[in-house]
């Protein structure tokens, strides 16, 4: 347990936090768009949700570029 705490404290949070926040923001925007569209995605919606959530930085980008119909 102590080791994990130490490791976490070693992470330079002030530097890393903005990156995580912005990446999260991108994910949320993609999710909102995906859900708002309902079934209007190329391919099944639940696959795109998985891609957005677990695809790292590229998940939302790929969704925005290729996931939407009549763009």
């Amino acid at each position: 347990m102590d080791e994990i705490v130490n490791e976490l404290q070693a992470v330079p949070w002030p530097v890393v936090a903005p990156i995580i926040i912005i990446q999260f923001l991108l994910m949320v925007i993609a999710l909102i768009d995906c859900l708002r569209r309902g079934g209007e995605t190329k391919g099944p919606q639940w696959v795109w949700i998985l891609v957005i959530v677990f695809g790292g930085i590229f998940g939302p980008i790929i969704y925005f570029l290729f996931g939407r119909r009549n763009d």
Partner: protein, 262 residues
């Protein structure tokens, strides 16, 4: 002029509605933030996870500020350009395929303003995204590594912005000529990769090339002036942008005329 502004507003509205005005700048910001952090912590990361022999990480010194800025531009040139080109590949071709442009062109809209409004909007979005991403990159570089003279940064960024403008113009022009958006993207990458590759392999005969602009911008970060032949490639790029834009308008007018008369 009023007509042009209406067309331009239509482009902006469309891109706000499909979130392009949010997600493309966010992607650039993410790229801009990540590069300085990665450069700064690379020795640490290699030590912890790289499995390198003791002391080998010392062979990777933290780069200078101008190097990090140049690396950021490298990221923009890869993932950033990929995103821009793929986002814009359907600019004209897509509208032609789904019929939107017929709705617009039945009104007394000049072909030139239709194309130039599209172009202006694409360039604006590309440059705003680039600027946003680069500001974050500069901030992190100053914070973590060292400061670079502001004049150098601004000059380098302007030069790089012209390269982005060039690529966006290529996308738009090809998009008016070719029907398939995928082919547009593919050909644009072909053109940009060939230009940058030729420029780095044969710098002597490619001094005019727009592909030289990114290496000129690196030189601006480093020394505050461009490499030899900077003005030539600057002028050639501006000229080529103007020619491509006129070509796009010409081709578009011809194609639409053919559609409307038959």
């Amino acid at each position: 002029m009023r007509q042009w502004i209406i067309l331009f507003k239509k482009e902006v509205k469309e891109s706000i509605r499909n979130f392009k005005w949010i997600w493309i700048p966010v992607v650039f910001i993410l790229l801009g933030l990540t590069q300085p952090v990665v450069s700064y912590y690379l020795p640490d990361l290699l030590e912890q996870f790289g499995g390198l022999p003791e002391g080998a990480a010392a062979a990777f010194p933290v780069p200078t500020g101008s190097q990090v800025l140049a690396e950021t531009l490298g990221q923009f040139s890869q993932i950033g350009l990929l995103v821009l080109v793929l986002a814009f590949m359907g600019a004209v071709a897509g509208e032609r395929n789904n019929g939107t442009n017929i709705m617009i062109l039945v009104k007394p809209v000049s072909y030139a303003s239709y194309i130039s409004a599209k172009w202006a909007h694409m360039v604006l979005l590309a440059l705003v995204s680039f600027t946003a991403g680069f500001i974050f990159s500069v901030y992190y570089t100053f914070l973590l590594i060292e400061s670079v003279p502001a004049a150098h940064i601004i000059q380098g960024a302007l030069v790089y912005g012209l390269w982005l403008t060039f690529v966006v113009t290529v996308v738009l022009t090809l998009s008016t000529i070719i029907k398939s958006p995928a082919a547009v993207a593919f050909l644009t990458f072909g053109v940009t990769i060939t230009l940058s590759l030729m420029s780095s392999l044969l710098p002597e005969i490619m001094t005019w090339s727009p592909g030289m602009l990114s290496s000129h911008s690196h030189s601006f970060f480093m020394n505050g002036y461009g490499n030899e032949g900077f003005w030539l490639s600057l002028m050639c790029t501006i000229l080529m942008i103007a020619v491509m834009l006129s070509l796009a308008i010409y081709v578009f007018r011809k194609k639409e005329m053919a559609v409307h008369t038959t």
